[in-house]
Amino acid sequence: MNTPIVTQQPIEARATTGLMVVAKRYLVKYNLLLIFVLLCVVGSIVSPNFATTANISNVLQQTSLVGIVSIGMTFVILTGNIDLSVGSVAAFAGMIIAIFVNDGMNLWLSVLLGILCGVISGAVLGGLSAFLTVPSFMTTLAGLVGIRGATYLLSDGVPVSGIPAVLTNIGTGRVGGIPDVGIIFISIALLAAIALRFTVFGEHLYATGSNEVAARLSGVNTKLIVASAFAICGALAALAGVLLTARLTVGQPTAYVGLELDAIAAVVLGGTSLFGGRGGVFGTVIAVFMLAVIRNVFNLMGLGSFYQMVITGVVLIIALVLNRIAENRGKR
């Protein structure tokens, strides 16, 4: 019964050291970063205006808001879910603070309430999906339609102006050449990376996305984790909505139509698996910048937005294919 089993040494299937192997491993892991750097090099060759501080600052300004939403979306997709309501939630939050401020409410209180709206809508839509085991695709699709409708109702479909300068300064301001919104975006990305990597919440989030049943049977409160991921996503979407209102100086009911698709594209391009459990914020940030740089280079070259759309689609496919090839190589 207690016969000892002869311990076999594991067979070394491949060398784990050596310069080439290490280089290859990093290449596989950071292939997206490499493509991004290549793209920047190409950009600076085709357009002399690309590598200027003003242009880079512009790119950051344009991309930060979508970036903030994409970080929230990363949390949701890591749990194996999807949030289609972010565009509507962002528009709603941007609209409601404009209305609150016009009614004479304290600016910061209304900003806080706007973000709270995002938290609540995320928690409700995500919670519905998690606790009733309804696909999040459907609950958030309902949110996409319903919340957009509510935004139109609030404003009669017309923009609401009267945003105080304190807020509009944040939307357009720069600190030492770096846009305020860019600083907010990068700080949120860092916070999100820390939350995912170094907290029990992050650990449980990955576990839930990786194998929900196993996570639950290991004592993870998977439903609460999913609902929290949606709440975070809603909060960040609302924040992006508030910042857009700050930049446009009006609450715009038609803002951010189709934002969810941009965010999902960035997250998936960044290497996060749509099935959950794999990926992270770093990839999302690189992907957000990559998509922005593509758009920017085409702008600088004077190609119209029709070209941009086609090329963005093509680049997305190429990047995804390269990503998958590298991943399969790395897995072996």
């Binding site: 019964m1 207690n2 089993i5 784990t16 907290t199 029990v200 194998n211 996570a215 639950r216």
Partner: protein, 228 residues
């Protein structure tokens, strides 16, 4: 619906549950682990024990190695390390990674889990090693009531023996171990007592000493005790 009464799972022993498929073996363990709704009147170490979720069961140091290793037990896409510490994570800042770095290592080497390094994905291991990782999860958590649902299913002969060697060690260290199996020889060889389940009820109770496989098998299949 199953109706199980008068079962006791003593510490320091391995208690076996045998029965045909659908006899209620898995349901019994799930009910004890709080992952299935049940009317329970159970006591654990003299205290009433009524877990309504796996979390509550885990807090009482109960652990379940589920029947379907790859679907319920292991996170195949996560590293060995993450698989081992998942049940140990408690609320708060800083993952278990920082707080108790040495423990999974000690347990992995004690169990003889064979792998290159902790960052290897759970799905890359062999069946036996995967099962050991699932078991380690509870040892890292210092669980001392272990519910093993068909732990040797799909393992090769060597891995089966090896796994049971470890289970014996765990029981010897004072843990209460419950094992379900559909293989009689295995249960007879390793368990101190055997309960036979038939259509959701405990039909017979055996102490594995000097009894014939035929007697047990008769109860397993017919649900009736053979009168000698």
């Amino acid at each position: 619906m199953i109706d199980i009464r008068n079962v006791s799972i003593p510490r320091g022993r391995i208690t076996g549950f045998i029965g045909l498929g659908g006899a209620g073996r898995s349901t019994l363990l799930s009910a004890l682990f709080g992952s299935e709704r049940a009317l329970r009147e159970v006591s654990l170490d003299g205290q009433p024990y009524d877990p309504h979720s796996p979390r509550q069961a885990i807090a009482r140091r109960v652990g379940l190695v589920p029947e379907d290793r790859k679907i319920q037990g292991l996170m195949v896409g996560r590293s060995i390390w993450h698989n081992m510490i998942i049940a140990f994570n408690k609320k708060g800042f800083g993952t278990a990674k920082q707080r108790s770095f040495s423990k999974p290592k000690e347990i992995a080497s004690a169990l003889g889990v064979r792998f290159h390094d902790f960052s290897q994905l759970g799905g890359q291991l062999s069946g036996g090693n995967q099962q050991k990782v699932v078991l380690s999860k509870w040892l890292v958590n210092e669980s001392n009531v272990l519910l093993l649902d068909e732990p040797t299913r799909g393992l090769d002969v060597g891995a089966k023996v090896e796994l049971f060697n470890e289970v014996h060690k765990i029981a010897d260290s004072g843990a209460a171990v419950a094992v379900t199996s559909s293989e009689l020889p295995e249960v007879m060889m390793h368990c101190d007592t055997i309960y036979v389940l038939y259509e959701g009820q405990v039909k017979e109770f055996f102490v594995t000493q000097g009894l014939s496989a035929e007697d047990i098998l008769h109860v397993v299949i017919t649900g009736e005790v053979r009168n000698a």
